[in-house]
């Protein structure tokens, strides 16, 4: 047994020179303690130490630290960036985790036990035996309306969200609708206002009353928060200006034909046309593979 490895759960495949999942066991335990607190107070931002990683802060370090703290050798990992398994950031994070844990990886949401993501919640519904780890750049939803950290903490403590409401009101006065796309402020468990990270509005309802544990990590800002399973997540809305998800009606994915997914807009220079494709590449590939199997 290598002297530098003190984890009992060290798989044979793991290279020498690192502790399992890079962080030492004390650091991981400390993060898990903060995670327990975050789960106990849904939506509440728990400060944590945010240890150094071989990746610059802000490049998904908060999510990475959480994943490192909870991952075990039996886990199956999926890493996505803006819905895509193949983007540079996703590949870097996946490589680092595989190199330091030796776990199996997948592009299939349903096959993963841990999904680490930036900017999307997978299209396929997740289960109770899965964990979704979200990378967060700005954990404070009240940053829209208040620059001082001391004041925003007080506002959370008092559950005083009137200024966020005025912000939404002014939005409607100015634009005729609430113009917030990603980072839609949402109330967790009827208590704490949460920034759901820059997922599109499309994904916010998926967080609510889901059987899955959602963990949010902001590395640069050193905050962890959680939406535990079966917890209410309510986007702020007025009686006469309801929260709406993005509108894709009449559009379909050019690759898999889906009409019920969150889509990226593409621009075809040759035809000058706008085209659409699923943002969740794993789901899109899976649908195409199934279509090909049916065609055979």
């Amino acid at each position: 047994m290598s002297a530098t490895v003190n984890s009992a759960a060290t798989p044979a495949r793991q290279p020498r020179g690192y502790n399992f999942a890079f962080l030492d066991e004390n650091t991981k335990r400390e993060i898990r303690r903060k995670l327990l607190k975050a789960v106990a107070i849904p939506g509440y931002q728990v400060p944590f130490a945010s240890p150094e990683l071989p990746i610059a802060r802000g490049w998904g370090t908060g999510g990475l630290q959480i994943t490192m703290a909870i991952i075990g050798p039996e886990d199956v990992l999926k890493v996505i960036d803006q819905g895509c398994d193949g983007s540079v950031n996703a590949v870097n994070i996946r490589n680092l985790l595989v190199k330091t844990t030796g776990v199996d990886t997948t592009f299939d949401t349903t096959a993963a036990s841990i999904v680490q993501t930036r900017h999307r919640v997978p299209e396929e519904p997740m289960r109770a035996d899965q964990i979704l780890v979200l990378q967060v750049p700005i954990p404070e939803p009240l940053r829209y309306v208040e620059a001082s950290e001391a004041k925003t903490r007080e506002m959370h403590g008092e559950m005083d969200y009137s200024r966020m409401w005025v912000y939404l009101y002014e939005n409607i006065v100015q634009y005729g609708e609430i113009s917030i796309g990603a980072r839609y402020p949402s109330l967790v468990n009827r208590r704490y206002l949460m920034d759901p990270s820059p997922i599109p509005r499309w994904d916010v309802p998926k967080l609510s009353m889901s059987p899955t544990l959602h963990l949010f990590g902001a590395g640069r800002e050193k905050r962890i928060y959680a939406v535990p399973p079966h917890t209410l997540v309510e986007p702020l809305e007025f009686e006469d200006f309801r929260f709406r998800v993005e509108e894709f009606s009449g559009r379909s994915c050019l690759r898999c034909g889906a009409t019920d997914t969150y889509m990226n807009e593409l621009f075809d220079r040759v035809s000058g046309q706008k085209l659409y494709a699923c943002s969740d590449s794993g789901y899109c590939d899976k649908r195409r593979a199934a279509q090909e199997r049916r065609a055979d």
């Binding site: 008092e158 009137s162 200024r163 409401w165 005025v166 009101y169 002014e170 006065v173 007025f238 009686e239």
Partner: protein
């Protein structure tokens, strides 16, 4: 025939100390001692055993020179500051018997959002220049749980109209308004939740004389139209004379004299009140 007036706000023995405090602070300060600073521990006794009752629909004036504790009193009643001791009961909360100062911060916030309005001397203490005029009124409505945009806009428009802010300015930012118009936006905001009690602290002090008269008229009209009980605080007996039915005179944190405004102006009992009256007459 004397009509029994409903009491909407009762304040008993309100004291506010700035400093460490000692057992003798309250007895060693006040008008007789001629200071509001405790000679023993140098604590500032901004309010010292202030008591009064506010009747429904009346305007109660609080007058006194600068530093006598008027603003501190108002800030304590609005929970901007924690009173050091004393009681404060609202008829619309806890059967009128619960001491608001002893409530949880949530309950105090309920009282502030639903039962109180405040107008500060500096309009920018009460309104936010980077929210629109309508947004400022909306903020008060939203704290009182009105979550309907068209209802908010209707109410804001009516209030701004009532306080003579041109409707065309409803979606503009008060940062660009004159002081008088900012003050009228602040009044509209304070009225938004239909509070039974309105607190006004030196509302005309910063304004041009020509604008002052119009704002005072407006306050008087609103009080008559809506029957809101008001606590009007001013160092200016002229303002008190125009607005207040009854008046308390404060000095060094204590209420020195209390009675009908006319009586206090015509026949002041205390030497200090006499000086105050004669210097302005």
């Amino acid at each position: 025939m004397a009509v029994e007036q409903e009491i909407v706000l009762t304040v008993r023995n309100l004291s506010k100390l700035y400093g460490p405090g000692c057992p003798d602070c309250l007895s060693l300060t006040g008008p007789e001692a001629g200071t509001n600073i405790c000679p023993r521990c140098h604590t500032i006794v901004a309010c010292n055993g202030v008591s009064f009752e506010l009747e429904s629909g009346e305007i109660l004036g609080i007058v006194g020179e600068s530093g006598s504790g008027k603003s501190t009193l108002v800030r304590c009643l609005y929970f901007d500051e924690d009173a050091t001791s004393g009681e404060c009961c609202f008829s619309a909360f806890g059967d009128g018997r619960a001491n608001a100062f002893a409530q949880t911060s949530q309950a105090r916030r309920y009282i502030r959002n639903h039962l109180l309005g405040i107008v500060y001397q500096n309009p920018l203490m009460g309104i936010k220049p980077h929210f629109t005029a309508g947004g400022n009124v909306a903020e008060k409505l939203l704290t009182a749980d009105v979550y309907n945009v068209s209802a908010i806009r209707q109410r804001a428009a009516a209030l701004l109209e009532r306080t003579e802010v041109p409707l065309a300015r409803m979606d503009d930012f008060p940062a660009h308004f004159s002081g008088g118009m900012q003050q009228r936006v602040q009044i509209a905001k304070a009225l938004a939740n239909n509070p039974p009690v309105l607190l006004l602290d030196e509302v005309t002090t910063g304004l041009d004389v020509s604008v002052q008269a119009r704002v005072l008229d407006l306050i008087k009209e609103i009080q008559q139209d809506l029957g809101i009980a008001m606590l009007v605080v001013s160092h200016d007996l002229g303002v008190i004379r125009i607005l207040a039915d009854r008046t308390a005179v404060m000095q060094h944190g204590q209420v020195l004299e209390f009675g009908l405004t006319d009586q206090i102006l015509e026949d002041p009992q205390h030497r200090y009140t006499q000086l105050l009256v004669h210097s302005t007459l």
